[in-house]
């Protein structure tokens, strides 16, 4: 069966240990996690988690069913089932000296990023977008200039009226 990358959005009780239940479930059942982001929502009793995983249809069905079975999980949605927006935040520390200083700045502008910290030899760049855009930016920089990369993992939301909420 065809392996597909899935973005699963989870609304769960903002309780101690909720994150470890999800992480524990994935390791205990041998499911893979590509990335996982979590933070409380506007309702402080709820956390929203975006989980990126992969697998064939049967595996994804098990993943969603097992997640649902966790007592702390209120609702979940496979964002990849419909139109959706995915964003990731990346912070990159880049060597910027001599001519490269201008070149990096131009590249940041092309990718609509921001230089958020400036040092004598370094820029720290902030960039947001879908994963592919962030990958492309890193490829455009010459690899020996990259000092440090931090990526947040994907956060996602459905387009249109589809919403994951308790209301």
């Amino acid at each position: 069966m065809e392996e597909r990358r899935r973005i699963i959005s989870i609304l769960m009780e903002n309780e101690a240990g909720a994150l470890s239940r999800v992480a524990g479930l994935f390791s205990a059942r041998g499911f893979n996690i590509e990335s996982l982001t979590v933070a409380p929502t506007e309702d402080s009793t709820l956390s929203r988690m975006t989980l990126v995983t992969g697998g064939d249809e049967a595996v994804i069905e098990q993943i969603t069913k097992q997640l649902h079975k966790l007592v702390d999980v209120v609702k979940l949605m496979d964002l990849t089932d419909g139109r959706h927006i995915q964003r990731e935040l990346m912070l990159v520390k880049v060597e910027a000296t001599g001519e490269a200083r201008e070149e990096v700045k131009r590249l940041v502008d092309i990718f609509r990023g921001n230089v958020v910290d400036v040092g004598e030899t370094l820029y720290t760049v902030e960039l947001t977008g879908a994963g592919g855009k962030l990958d492309a930016f890193l490829e455009a920089l010459s690899p020996n200039r990259i000092v440090e990369v931090v990526r947040s993992g994907i956060s996602g939301i459905a387009r249109g009226g589809r919403a994951l909420t308790v209301r």
């Binding site: 101690a16 240990g17 098990q62 097992q66 079975k69 007592v71 702390d72 999980v73 209120v74």
Partner: protein, 616 residues
């Protein structure tokens, strides 16, 4: 029972509540000012309000406030086991035999880690259980304090849910949630970890009658359209088969009755899993025996050849299915289960139905009865003819003329002597399979064993829980000399609470099932499966204050059993010295299909042993 033999209760010292406390109590519920209790008292009152009869436990530092609150009341009875694992198994046995949740109370650290095997056992077999454990005071959590362990962390993979109670005001609600979660949906163990200082603080006590958890809403009724579809598929079947598991037992007595109705109306063959035995009467001709690794030839062959399979409350475990790629190759499968994640996990399903086994079965019976038309299936004759041919193979035969005691013979005699009405617990191994194959359970909740986790040491403490739940009943523990040693300390608990269990020790001086696999698959290299330096079990039982009997000849088996069963007052430990070479037949080697069973060869030697070496 001796548990009431203790000095009269001293009057508790008068408690002084501050005005502030009383005000809080009144404000929370203006209609009836709630009583202000300590956390420890709240725990005990919650158990009382949950109508808990017995709790099984072992005291220790972090649980002492709770133990003190227990001492000052008489409604909730505490059974002191000799090891926390025994407490968990006893609570589990109580739950399996009565359908009510088992409750465990232990202290922090080793107290709770010792229960983990018991919790995992209950989790694998979906048994409702609430485990309350003490924890170090909150200000010490995370400091590697004395007897500190992250109880929620160590139990997480084997509980349905767990809680750390950080606030005494949340305590009663949390305990209510624990019982609600443990007993509804697919049941399972829930652990409540309570720091010692929380048990000392006070709060107004109010136990909610009903609760709603927004993130937890188990389904009860099956989808009516799916139920009709399933019934149609069953009616149209040419070679139907009904396979049911522990879910039918767990769902309650009505489920077993509905299953029995359904099977008899249809006239279809029925098989039960190890966990499902007793849900359909074994004495009924429509019952084709247990299925799976040590199931009957007819059950497994009917599974392999059926064209429609109705699976209810069973989870297609590897010991049942054998090799998945050759499992039920011709069948359309209807799967009824309360846990959606069980459906489609191991096999593809044609008609999935999420719901409680009892309710769905009753709905199916109603559709069948209300549907009109002829429910007689004209293809049944040839299907049953085929099944009877398989049945005639007599896959459970054994040498009845042996001069040595055959373990199967002991179980057959046990069935006769107890008229099939005993509660039978078992440990894990060959004796477990023989008990399952030969006791012929006619009623649910009579067969108590660790099916999923396969926990040696389960049988004796589970039997204690069964007997407490059914005072006066005959409770037998079928065990082996290797398993019984694992929780032998509980003989002391049996003495304290006068539990007249009957222990049937099938003693072959080997870890029999391990020896069997080593004989078949490891060229008879009996690596560490021999039990050297066994105790004298008769003397051992007597040293605990019980009766011990050794039985060495087949001719003495029946009289020994009859005498032991008729002794209503004493625990009798029967040490049956059995044939060391006996193997469990038939057998599907790991990785093989249902149609590739190994049968005992005609000369009753072990010629039927699987030839290939399959490791699993």
């Amino acid at each position: 029972m001796r548990m009431t033999d203790r000095p009269p209760l001293p009057k508790p010292p008068p408690r002084i509540y501050t005005k502030a406390m009383q005000k809080v109590a009144a404000a929370a519920d203006p209609a009836a000012a709630a009583e202000v209790l300590t956390g420890a008292e709240i725990v005990v009152r919650c158990l009382r309000d949950e109508k808990i009869e017995f709790i099984f436990g072992y005291p220790g530092g972090a649980a002492l406030h709770i133990y003190d609150a227990l001492y000052r009341q008489d409604e909730v009875k505490h059974i002191l086991t000799r090891h926390e694992q025994g407490a968990a198994h006893a609570a589990d046995g109580y739950a399996r035999a009565t359908g009510r949740p088992g409750v465990v109370l232990v202290t922090s650290g080793p107290g709770v880690t010792n229960t983990i095997t018991g919790i995992a056992t209950a989790y694998m077999d979906s048994i409702p259980m609430v485990v309350i454990c003490g924890q170090v005071p909150r200000h010490l959590i995370g400091d590697d304090a004395f007897q500190e362990v992250d109880a929620c962390g160590v139990s997480r993979p084997c509980v349905k849910h767990n809680f750390l109670v950080n606030d005494v005001d949340e305590l009663a609600l949390t305990i209510k949630k624990a019982f609600y979660i443990a007993t509804t949906g697919r049941p399972g163990p829930v652990l409540v970890d309570i720091p010692k200082d929380v048990t000392a603080q006070t709060a107004p006590y109010r136990y909610p009658q009903q609760i709603r958890i927004r993130s937890y809403a188990p389904v009860h009724r099956g989808h009516p359209g799916q139920v009709r579809k399933a019934v149609q598929l069953l009616r149209d079947a040419r070679r139907p088969m009904i396979y049911t598991g522990g879910g039918v037992v767990q769902s309650g007595g009505a489920a077993a009755a509905a299953l029995t109705d359904l099977v008899r109306i249809l006239g279809y063959p029925c098989t039960n899993t190890l966990m499902g035995l007793g849900a359909f009467p074994a004495s009924d001709k429509l019952f084709v025996g247990m299925l799976g690794m040590h199931g009957t030839y007819e059950a497994n062959m009917a599974m392999h050849h059926c064209d429609v399979l109705l699976a209810v409350g069973a989870r297609f475990d590897d010991r049942v299915t054998g090799e998945l790629s050759t499992f039920c190759p011709y069948a359309k499968i209807i799967h009824v289960d309360i846990d959606p994640s069980s459906i489609g996990k191991n096999v593809k399903v044609t008609v999935p139905i999420v719901g409680d086994a009892g309710k769905v079965l009753a709905d199916m019976v109603a559709v069948l009865r209300g549907g009109g038309g002829d429910s007689h299936n004209q293809h049944l004759g040839s299907w049953w003819k085929q099944i009877e041919e398989w049945r005639a193979v007599d896959s459970l035969r054994y040498d009845r003329g042996s001069a040595l005691i055959k373990p199967q013979f002991v179980i057959e005699k046990l069935h006769e002597v107890t008229k099939g009405e005993a509660f039978v617990t078992s440990d894990v191994g060959q004796h477990q399979m023989w008990a399952a194959q030969f006791y012929n359970f006619d009623r649910p909740r009579r067969w108590i064993n660790s099916g999923g986790l396969g926990t040696m040491g389960f049988g004796l403490p589970a039997a204690m829980g069964v007997r407490l739940g059914h005072p006066g009943a005959t409770v037998c523990c079928v065990t082996g000399e290797a398993s019984i040693i694992m929780c032998i300390q509980e003989l002391s608990t049996c003495k304290q609470y006068d539990l007249p269990l009957k222990i049937i020790n099938l003693n072959n001086r080997y870890m029999g099932m391990v020896r069997q696999w080593q004989e078949f698959f490891y060229d008879r290299r009996y690596s560490h499966s021999y039990m050297d330096a066994l105790p004298d079990f008769v003397a051992l039982a007597e040293s605990f204050g019980h009766k011990g009997v050794r039985v060495e000849h087949p001719g003495d088996v029946e009289s020994a059993l009859a005498e032991a069963i008729s002794d209503k007052d004493r625990l009798v430990f029967m040490d049956f010295i059995t044939d060391q070479t006996e193997n469990v037949y038939p057998m599907i080697a790991a990785g093989k299909g249902h149609h590739e069973m190994h049968l005992r060869s005609a000369d009753s030697g072990d010629g039927g042993a699987p030839a290939e070496r399959e490791l699993a």
